[in-house]
């Protein structure tokens, strides 16, 4: 009985974070009725950083603003917008930092080219040693 009372008291005295007491936005925690659209939305949400809990994506974060961002993404996908366009819109407002997918602009080229460069360099290294052996 005491435990239940304690539990209830703790529930009512919910953590005093700087949060509003308004309910989450409509599409923050609801899936879109069209499964393809929901899949697109989910894919995008997992690639967008939460502005508050910055190590998480908006798909995983409990922050209110993350919920509002999920609502924004779902509404716009439902209206027919492509995920890439929504990502661009967010990047225009918060910079490349907000997207876990690194940019394809020149600033990201070394990153995307690195695997190829490493493979070629390593391959040449390995091949040169093989060649030396065979020529003996």
């Amino acid at each position: 009985m005491r435990a239940a009372f304690l539990a209830l008291a703790l529930v009512l005295a919910a953590p005093a974070l700087a949060d509003s007491d308004m309910p989450p936005a409509y599409w923050a925690n609801r899936q879109l009725p069209n499964p393809q659209q929901e899949e697109q939305a989910r894919g995008l949400m997992q690639e967008i950083r939460c502005l508050v809990c910055q190590g998480e994506s908006i798909a995983d974060s409990d922050a209110e603003l993350a919920g509002d961002m999920r609502d924004l993404v779902r509404r716009r996908i439902a209206a027919g917008e492509k995920p890439a366009s929504i990502r661009t819109w967010l990047i225009q407002r918060y910079g490349n930092w907000i997207s876990f997918r690194p940019p394809t602009q020149p600033i990201g080229w070394p990153l995307w080219l690195a695997p190829l460069a490493l493979l070629v360099a390593g391959g040449l290294l390995a091949a040169s040693r093989l060649k030396r052996r065979r020529s003996r």
């Binding site: 435990a3 239940a4 304690l6 539990a7 209830l8 703790l10 529930v11 953590p15 309910p23 989450p24 925690n29 609801r30 899936q31 393809q36 899949e39 989910r42 894919g43 997992q46 690639e47 950083r49 910055q54 190590g55 998480e56 994506s57 798909a59 995983d60 409990d62 910079g95 490349n96 930092w97 907000i98 997207s99 876990f100 997918r101 690194p102 940019p103 600033i107 990201g108 070394p110 990153l111 995307w112 690195a114 695997p115 490493l118 493979l119 390593g122 391959g123 290294l125 390995a126 040693r129 093989l130 030396r132 052996r133 065979r134 003996r136």
Partner: protein, 633 residues
């Protein structure tokens, strides 16, 4: 008293490590043989272990006069978590780090008998050098035994997310892995000093690398599963900087393991093996630095302190720099081993080394790229899963192809005859891929390819056992087969769960029935309950997919000290997958439910476990061979 005893032991051990370093590299030591340095190494390890035991005692008894306990523990915590709290903070985990370093050195001193003496002595000296630096760091910048005067009245508690059986298991296992690799590093240094990189070195190094690698594999697998069930998002790998920091030593150690086999069998790949041995532990040190310095923001990071960061960076730069310099100066003297053809096991293993190193390089570059860009241009960008998945995935597939080919090739030169046995597995894999292409319409090419390769690898990994007398096949061959089979298992799990997971997000009223995948779930009720240091709202769900009804009770928990909210997921494990349920906020008279049906997801961690067991069998197999040779039954 306990704390002071522990601190005294640490000082003594630090002094001994200095002695160990001196004994290892002092000229003229060869006359006395290895007995003195062995004794010093064993004593140093023993004292460090004793100091660690004292810290555990101080936490177990919640001695609030020790500052560390006051910051991180609480008298109401269950005993298991009090003890696990010893390493749930920076200073304690650093002491654990140094303890494993010490006992690894002690174990090397006791158990290694087959190595040439001068190399062995130099290796122990290197181990002492490593220990010395970290002792200095511990004693001057991270003293775990610092007293608090006056003692605190109550501890500040521990992050409730860490109050979990996984915590008791995950860090010590990982540290045995990371820091166990120090032995490989020291042996490599010793071998470079004496110039003896040969079959003997490989055979001496191999058990240590195998042992450390088994622990690393288990630690990473366990960490992944812990994050999966504890964080409530159903994800099992996030390419978070700290996760990457734990993966990089594993990648290096895996490459090293395979390289050692070449060195042991054929005395080839000398420079590459030595380099890998140094890189593996260097990656461990880099990881330690990244996690504790505040250089990278992460969900996982320890309390941040840039001063400690500078100290660790200097240690790291010194050790890795000295090792690399030694390599640059001495590796020219390493003679090349015997030749091998393009179609040979050596070549396949060179390819394996190459691909693993490329993955290592890519993960390293990806993790540090945002830092470099910001330093050079001031711009901020992020590198996360979309990059790593896209880049590491295809290389991993190529690696899987090599796994099917390599074990079927002879050393030195192979006609490729036995590769014909791969036709059936390849066709099976192709078939599986095509079926998925048709059955799963949406995106996920990489996952579909992954499943195809996995289906091919399952039978292909067994091929080395074909046409052999199974009773006379060495245990190490079975070990290899099991580990490779484990790779196929893990990749199959990753692919299938990624392609076929269903998610349902809904705000439900008690009494409502919701569905996810083939499951029909009735949200029966929700009620408050209490635990030892938490209270929660527990939902009762009844789930069925046509058969028996299962009960799941996910919770939304509130801890008091410090005040935190967490979700405890309720997971139902079946033969075909896991039903993962989470209860969230209340919205009016409804409750937020998140439900996933994840087919085959447990194969991921089962695969990891199989890989680790394979490694353990290999270790056992070699030890068995050693005992039989020595006449022990």
């Amino acid at each position: 008293m306990t704390a002071e005893t522990g601190l005294a032991a640490l000082w003594l051990a630090a002094a001994l490590s200095l002695l160990q370093l001196a004994l290892g590299f002092a000229p003229g030591m060869s006359k006395s043989g290895s007995a003195p340095i062995r004794a010093v190494a064993v004593l140093q390890g023993g004292l460090t272990l004793f100091a660690f035991a004292m810290l555990v005692l101080v936490f177990a008894t919640t001695d609030l006069s020790v500052a560390l306990v006051a910051e991180n523990s609480h008298s109401a915590k269950p005993l298991l978590y009090k003890i696990a709290g010893t390493w749930g903070n920076h200073e304690g985990s650093m002491l654990l780090w140094v303890t494993v370093l010490g006992i690894s050195g002690a174990a090397l001193a006791i158990f290694s008998r087959r190595l040439e003496e001068r190399t062995f002595v130099a290796a122990l000296g290197a181990q002492g050098a490593l220990a010395l630096g970290f002792f200095i760091f511990l004693l001057f910048a991270s003293n775990p035994f610092a007293r608090l005067d006056p003692p605190a009245l109550e501890g500040r508690g521990l992050n409730p997310i860490l109050q979990d059986p996984g915590l008791a298991f995950h860090p010590p296992t990982l540290y045995l892995g990371y820091v166990g690799l120090s032995v490989a590093f020291s042996l490599a240094v010793g071998a470079l000093v004496t110039g003896r990189v040969d079959r003997e070195l490989a055979r001496a190094m191999r058990p240590w690398v195998l042992g450390a690698w088994v622990f690393l594999t288990l630690g990473i697998t366990a960490g992944s599963y812990w994050a999966y069930y504890d964080l409530g998002w159903g994800g099992w790998w996030f390419w978070d900087p700290v996760e990457n920091a734990s993966l990089m030593p594993w990648l290096a150690a895996t490459a090293l393991l395979h390289s050692l086999n070449v060195l042991a069998s054929r005395e080839s790949l000398r420079a590459w093996t030595i380099m890998l041995a140094m890189i593996a532990f260097s990656m461990s040190m880099v990881g330690t630095f990244l996690v504790r310095s505040g250089v990278l923001t992460s969900v996982h990071a320890f309390a941040v302190d840039p001063k400690r960061g500078v100290f660790l960076l200097i240690l790291l730069a010194f050790y890795v720099g000295a090792a690399l310099l030694l390599f640059a100066l001495r590796s020219g003297r390493l003679s090349e081993g015997p030749e091998f053809e393009l179609v040979s096991r050596e070549a396949a293993l060179v390819g394996n080394n190459l691909l693993l190193s490329v993955i290592l390089g890519v993960v390293f570059i990806g993790t540090l790229y945002p830092l470099f860009v910001e330093a050079l241009t001031g711009a901020k960008l992020s590198v996360g899963a979309p990059y790593f998945d896209a880049v590491v995935g295809p290389i991993a597939l190529a690696l899987m192809a090599l796994i099917t080919i390599g074990p079927l090739l002879n050393w030195r030169r192979d006609s490729g005859e036995r590769l014909k046995r791969l036709i059936i597995p390849a066709l099976l894999g192709l078939g599986a891929f095509i079926i998925l292409l048709m059955a799963v319409p949406q995106d996920g090419l990489l996952a579909k390819l992954g499943f195809g390769f996995a289906v091919a690898l399952f039978p292909a990994s067994l091929l080395p056992l074909l046409a052999r007398k199974l009773g006379r096949t060495p245990l190490t061959t079975y070990a290899m087969v099991l580990a490779h089979f484990g790779v196929a298992t893990a990749v199959a799990g990753m692919s299938i769960s990624s392609l076929t997971t269903s998610e349902t997000l809904i705000a439900a009223k008690p009494g409502e029935i919701v569905s996810v995948g083939p499951w029909s779930i009735r949200f029966d009720s929700i009620r408050p309950i209490a635990g030892p240091n938490w209270t929660a709202l527990e939902a009762t769900l009844y789930a069925t997919r046509g058969g028996a009804i299962e009960t799941l009770k996910p919770q939304a928990r509130f801890y008091t000290d410090p005040p935190t909210e967490t979700t405890q997921s309720a997971i139902l494990t079946t033969l075909t997958g896991q039903l993962y349920t989470v209860v969230g906020q209340q919205v009016g008279d409804r409750w937020q439910l998140r439900l996933w049906w994840k087919p085959m997801v447990t194969l991921i961690w089962l695969g990891g476990a199989l890989i680790a067991i394979g490694g353990a069998l290999a270790l056992l197999g070699r030890a068995w061979r050693g005992w039989r040779k020595a006449g022990v039954r």
